[in-house]
Amino acid sequence: MSELLTAEGLHLHFGKVAALDDVALEIHPGEVVAIVGESGSGKTTLLRVLAGLMPPQQGQVLYAGEDVHAMGEAARRRLMRSDWGFVHQNPRDGLRLRVSAGGNVGERLMAAGARHYGNIRAEATEWLKRVEIDPARIDDMPLQFSGGMQQRLQIARTLVTRPKLVFMDEPTGGLDVSVQARLLDLIRALVADLGLAVLIVTHDIAAARLLAHRMLVMRRGQVVEQGLTDRVLDDPQHPYTQLLVSSVLAA
């Protein structure tokens, strides 16, 4: 099978609130899929369930044919530090703040068994350049960086081991608009260069249009519309999608 990740019949209720109501999804190698919807629509929950961070009450998530929620924590963690990456909205959740920029980028390499200091440092330097951070700052702490730089550092730290699938939770969330554009462009270029598959949760329609090949629109735990990004945005069918698109483009 050519799918990297597939999910079927996902259900998850918080009390009476349906966070996931019969959600299905698949993602292929090299595909960028955006999950859009307002806060509370269930999109972040979906991302967490797909990434194995939270079990569904019903349904299955398969990665390369293996059940993500049945594989046991050791295997899931191995996946998290090899094939997968996770970019958090708040870079502080994805970085070690008391470890230098170089150490942050190098950690995944070391976790994967890299034991040559010089090589690790060279690779970290290279990645700082790729995310447009001055390599002279390799020994600086993340707390000395701006929010946009921290986010770029988190991306370098995540991509350094060349994962196949990256989960991104509102990666431009807390940033200024000017900083957002730069970050989006950087993500776009890296994703294309590395041929990554990306599942990105965002409420930023413009970001989704720029990055995603395909899009899912979520509302109240359900996927109400999905398809080619430009078709969903330019010819929305569901009333909620029309509302979402018209409110954004009017701004």
Partner: protein
């Protein structure tokens, strides 16, 4: 076998090969399109009804009809940018016909990468990406090497009279005419077997119009099927083999 694979052309299929595949590079079958505006009480606006259009390789068809008749809507349906209410859009892709209206997103992407090009009226600017890169990208997506793609992009931009000093800049600050030429270069660079052109000469001067007319003629000779909207009747008459009338719908409830 591998020695046969090596002979696969990356440029548009030669006319004899295209003819062997079937008579049409792109065709529609009973294509209809309505818009339902849920935010305006669910009002339905019918735009296209029962459109049957077929274009052969090497042929250029101009869409005709008054403004508001749905020519741009038809173009967008052909590209898959709009879905269809009913009917089909068949595109000859990779040796078979793919229905753009029902194909899944990945297949539509593959068709757009290898077969179906679209030059819209306006360039959707990607922040910070240089002009030459924008033009070279679709070539690289099809597996052309970076250097070759960049060289091809530069040559095409130059031919469209965009000076080399602009090639390294993102087109965000370019004039309308300059942006349109970037868009044209991006559309013509890969040599798609099917090319959709929405007002390709709207904001161009006479010299650049002539370049576009020449590019269209070359593409036709190479076997490209072209569907265009040309407000400029002089250009239209120079490039179109025939007209296809898009009639306005009577307003319905």
């Amino acid at each position: 076998m591998s020695h046969q694979e090596q002979g696969r052309p990356t440029q548009p299929a030669a006319p004899d090969r295209a003819a062997a595949l079937g008579p049409h590079a792109i065709r529609t079958e009973g294509l209809s399109k309505d818009f339902t505006l849920h935010l305006q009480g669910g009002i339905r606006i019918p735009v296209l009804r029962g459109v049957d259009l077929a274009v052969a390789p090497g042929e250029c068809v101009a869409l005709a009809g008054p403004s508001g008749a749905g020519k741009s809507t038809l173009m967008r349906c052909l590209y898959g940018n709009y879905g269809a209410g009913s009917g089909h859009v068949w595109v000859r892709h990779d040796g078979r016909e793919v229905d753009i209206t029902s194909a899944d997103a990945r297949e539509v992407r593959a068709v757009r990468r290898d077969t179906l090009g679209y030059v819209s009226q306006f360039l959707r600017v990607i922040p910070r990406v240089a002009t030459q890169q924008i033009v070279a990208e679709p070539l690289m997506a099809r597996g052309v090497g970076r250097e070759e793609a960049m060289a091809h992009a530069a040559a095409l931009l130059k031919r469209l009279n965009l000076p080399a000093k602009l090639h390294g800049l993102p087109p965000a600050t370019f004039s309308g005419g300059e942006q349109q030429r970037v868009n044209l270069a991006r559309g013509f660079a890969p040599g798609y077997p099917v090319l959709l052109l929405d007002e390709p000469t709207a904001s161009l001067d006479a010299a650049n119009r002539d370049v576009v007319v020449a590019l269209i003629a070359e593409a036709k000779r190479a076997g490209t099927a072209i569907i265009g909207i040309f407000h400029d009747t002089e250009v239209r008459d120079r490039v179109a083999d025939r007209l296809f009338e898009v009639a306005p719908m009577q307003d319905a409830a």
